[in-house]
Symmetry: C2
């Protein structure tokens, strides 16, 4: 998304969140990508804020809950939901946008997220945009940009390939190990997207064989 | 608000935010009141999260900006706006509510706030409630309770007096000194509310004389 927006001429400010995700490792990749794009990078540490003391029960933030393997659309993936995560992150990003005189906040939710993550759906995004413009009425007008909202990961990989995105410098895996595991929901979709887009996947996975589709 | 909700039979969970406000002192009062009401209390430290590194420019969070004296409705009070503050706080409170199986989040915005704080207005509250219920769709249904939204501070003092609220154990002053200053926007309104409600004001102010009304 960052590469695409830059190609469209946007000036970028990057913001990342530590919300106690076990794949906290994604933050290093985000910081590096912001540097590659000459975008100032801000880390908001919600873990230090004490937020993760109660965001338990999700496989993404609770070490006692196992990250499920399989496809996003599986019922088992519901355990990866962190309640209201995106409203929290977007509200903070919008505050940053107001203080930096930015006119928009971009959010990379994609079509494959909708099934299990209610806060990735178009109706949420539209309601959030209405809400935040009332919240900052008189201070700013903000657009919530979601270029991938109706795009599959396959289409996103195709776009990234056209833009020469260095995919080897990106991180997806929910387990946050040394390598991408290759079997969790987000790894599953990452592999599938490269395969369907017929783009060479530069990722090294722990498990080589692509998991079965069903 | 807490006393009123408890009188109505609600079970309470209290949440406070350190957002770098210079009247951080209000947090000790909130913690004490939660203890008085046997409500578990959670502090979210947005200052530790790094949020206040960019929430500059407001008199509430930026030590280089002077807290203005006078009435809330004065144009000068706009400097006390912290952009998108209430959407951030409410989003986090709603996440806590979902994880604790609470059915509602209560928010003490009052009628006197509307003029300068866009994120205290009824249209913001309604838009927020719609947004958050889309964000947590399938996980929870949340009501945003705002009992004071159309009440003046005078009416709030009258209600508090009926409920025997220990007003001496509450804090308003934006300056956050040893005593309430008596002259900033929120002290001005506090004094005025007690006077108009004809309730004895137990607060010790630095400046004894009530400021002139115009």
């Amino acid at each position: 998304m960052a590469y695409s927006l830059r190609a469209q001429g946007y000036r970028l400010i990057a913001i990342s969140f530590d919300y106690g995700q076990r794949h906290r490792k994604e933050l290093e990749f985000a910081e590096q990508m912001a540097a590659d794009l000459d975008a100032p990078w801000t880390l908001i540490d919600l873990h230090a804020a004490g937020l993760t003391s109660f965001l338990t029960g999700s496989a993404l933030t609770d070490e006692t809950v196992t990250v499920p393997d399989g496809h996003y659309a599986d019922e088992s993936m519901r355990i990866t939901v962190v309640p209201n995560r995106n409203a929290i992150m977007l509200s903070i990003a919008c505050a940053l946008a107001v203080t930096r005189d930015a006119g928009a906040v971009a959010f990379g939710a994609h079509a494959g997220d909708h099934f299990i993550y209610p806060d990735c759906r178009p109706e949420f995004v539209h309601a959030f945009e209405s809400m935040v413009n009332l919240a900052v009425d008189g201070l700013a007008t903000l657009e919530i940009i979601t270029p991938f909202l109706s795009m599959t990961k396959t289409a996103i990989v195709e776009l990234g390939s056209e833009l020469n995105v260095p995919f080897e410098r990106t991180w997806s895996c929910y387990k946050g190990g040394t390598l991408h595991c290759g079997t969790c929901g987000t790894c599953f979709e990452r592999r599938e997207a490269f395969a369907q887009a017929q783009v060479v996947d530069p990722t090294t996975y722990e498990t080589d064989a692509a998991p079965a589709r069903t």
